[in-house]
């Protein structure tokens, strides 16, 4: 049977409508987030600690970001058989739910419900910016200094200097670093050995593969080393991409493993600008059929769009680095994006479902 192109597109449309799915926007060749419509979500986290030994406690990140143009944290409520408080990291303002159970509690549990509102962001850096937003001296220091996992001296500074050589404006410098991340950060099987977790080790070992937190930390570190404010934004995907990108959205209402770190840079005249080179790499690696070439149209579109824009299908928890967990004797976290728990003095493995079970579900709410 022969189908010409028009028949094929009609067939595709009919199928999408029948399935109750939106027509994939990428069929039209566009990946164009546009602000203007707020979306509201309810996120429910259920956490249980199996086989608790000693006093158990847990920490769950709460939505702590409030940015008038794109994200509102709408408050949280919870139920638990422990005692819950809501401490706040003093440096970055990251809030968390801290639950403590009495020693001997056989089945510690907590259920947390949070509401957020989010919308797309898009800033055109090709036209002069008109924002009057400025960073205070404290904010500028906070977003240009190094952290435990993001040093900005030594090899990080050397690499940043080499990337931005010949670039004069801040936009040019950041764009060069963005392109470097997109083109260089991949898992090279010939490189033996693994870094110890900070971005300097990534550069020293040449092992530049990693997850979003690694790649966007490297981006933020290189930008900070160039003297430009930058920050990671730690969060979780809450809905599918409406632009047809399977790799850039949550696949179902269960978002337990959908954590994702994005990044921002601060530019005079524009304010905080959304950037996400890690998601460009995710499109390369995971957008079906996988391992796409860099000149694939979906990769090209993602690379263009994710420098200055991102989709509002994601919840922003916080901007925090080097997070101390109140009540814990354990080490600080490089970032707080996953639930954490301890039994006695032993921190549990947040990736081990046998001892530390949690699920996170997302539901989009209709407008009030």
């Amino acid at each position: 049977m022969h189908l010409d192109k028009r028949d094929f597109l009609k067939t595709g449309t009919a199928f999408a409508l029948t399935a109750g799915l939106p027509l994939p926007a990428f069929a039209q060749g566009t990946f164009a987030p546009r602000p203007g419509i707020w979306r509201n979500f309810e996120i429910v986290t259920k956490l249980e600690i199996a086989e608790p030994a000693g006093k158990a406690q847990a920490w769950i990140p709460l939505p702590s970001v409030n940015e008038k143009d794109w994200f509102k944290s709408g408050g949280s409520r919870w139920a638990t058989n422990g005692v819950a408080t809501q401490p706040r990291d003093p440096r970055y303002g990251a809030e968390m739910l801290h639950v403590e159970w009495t020693e001997g509690e056989k089945a510690p549990w907590v259920e947390l419900t949070s509401k957020v509102s989010t919308q797309d962001r898009a800033i055109d850096l090709s036209i002069p910016g008109t924002s009057s937003l400025e960073l205070s001296a404290t904010e500028r220091t906070l977003n240009t200094e190094g952290s435990d996992l993001i040093p900005i001296d030594g090899i990080v500074k050397e690499t940043s200097d080499a990337i931005v050589t010949g670039k004069t404006t801040e936009v040019e410098k950041v764009h060069a670093i963005y392109g470097w991340i997109v083109e260089k950060t991949f898992r090279d099987a010939k490189v033996r050995g693994c870094g110890i977790g900070d971005i300097a080790a990534m550069l020293k070992t040449g092992n530049l593969g990693g997850k979003c937190a690694d790649l966007n930390a490297l981006f933020v570190g290189l930008v900070r080393a160039a003297g430009i404010p930058a920050r990671d934004v730690y969060g979780i995907r809450v809905a599918p991409s409406k632009f047809g990108y399977k790799a850039l959205g949550a696949g179902s209402e269960v978002i337990t493993k959908a954590q994702h770190c994005r990044a921002e840079i601060f530019l005079a005249g524009y304010g905080w600008v959304p950037i996400d080179p890690a998601d460009v790499r995710k499109v390369v690696l995971e957008e079906p059929p996988g391992n796409l070439p860099i000149d694939n149209p979906k990769v090209v579109a993602a690379r263009k769009t994710l420098f200055g824009a991102w989709e509002g299908n994601w919840l922003a928890y916080n901007f925090a680095h080097d997070v101390a967990l109140p009540g814990s004797n354990g080490p600080k976290l490089g970032f707080l994006m996953y639930p954490q728990a301890e039994c006695g003095n032993a921190r549990l493995d947040c990736h081990d479902p046998d001892t530390f079970k949690y699920t996170i579900r997302s539901r989009e709410l209709t407008a009030a």
Partner: protein, 193 residues
């Protein structure tokens, strides 16, 4: 360090060309393997930092273990992580080396930045007779200037680091007595492949 562009950036036509040469190259590599393996073998390098770092870290049972307990013996300080693929094969080899050494070589394996329970579960599957220590916040790894996992330091009987290797190493081919002599003579010790 010069960083390569990702494979997909370099283009499909190049990959096809490389594939065409690959078959012929494989024959060449196989024919010259002994020479090439020797040329690319991991080496124990002299550690010229001049410092003499130390540590006291908890083991997986919670007991504090100090490097100083090895004074009078050759010591191996091995930094690793359970999630690091090149690391996993080394612990059994280090265990065999310690057994051959019959007490003259002390091994300390330090897990870097991992939660305790993950390490405990791992060593249940890879049992060893030496201490597994927990560097939870990377402080010791940083003090020893470790960037890569696995990294192993060889210390003399005064616990002064003399040699290091920043990749996996074929410990099964090491003679403990010869290792001690190497620390004295200053000769490089190659890992035969």
């Amino acid at each position: 360090m010069k960083f390569r562009a990702a494979p997909e950036v370099r283009g499909a036509p190049l990959l096809r060309t490389v594939a065409a040469f690959g078959c012929a190259l494989a024959v060449f590599v196989a024919a010259t393997l002994p020479l090439r393996a020797t040329a690319n073998a991991a080496e124990l390098q002299r550690w010229n930092d001049g410092r003499q770092p130390s540590f006291t870290l908890p083991d997986t049972d919670g007991a504090d273990i100090a490097l100083d307990t090895a004074r009078g013996h050759v010591a191996l300080v091995h930094f690793f992580a359970t999630w690091c693929a090149p690391c996993r094969g080394e612990l059994p080899a280090l265990n065999r080396l310690a057994a051959r050494a019959n007490g003259s070589v002390k091994v300390f394996a330090i897990s870097v930045a991992e939660v305790d329970l993950r390490v405990r579960r791992f060593i249940q599957t890879v049992p060893v007779d030496f201490s597994i220590l927990l560097d939870r916040d990377r402080a010791v790894a940083k003090a020893w200037k470790v960037s890569t996992l696995p990294t192993t330091f060889v210390l003399d009987t005064d616990l002064s680091p003399k040699l290091l290797v920043e990749t996996e190493y074929a410990w099964d081919h090491i003679d403990p007595a010869k290792l001690a002599d190497t620390l004295v003579s200053g000769a490089r010790e190659r890992s035969p492949q």
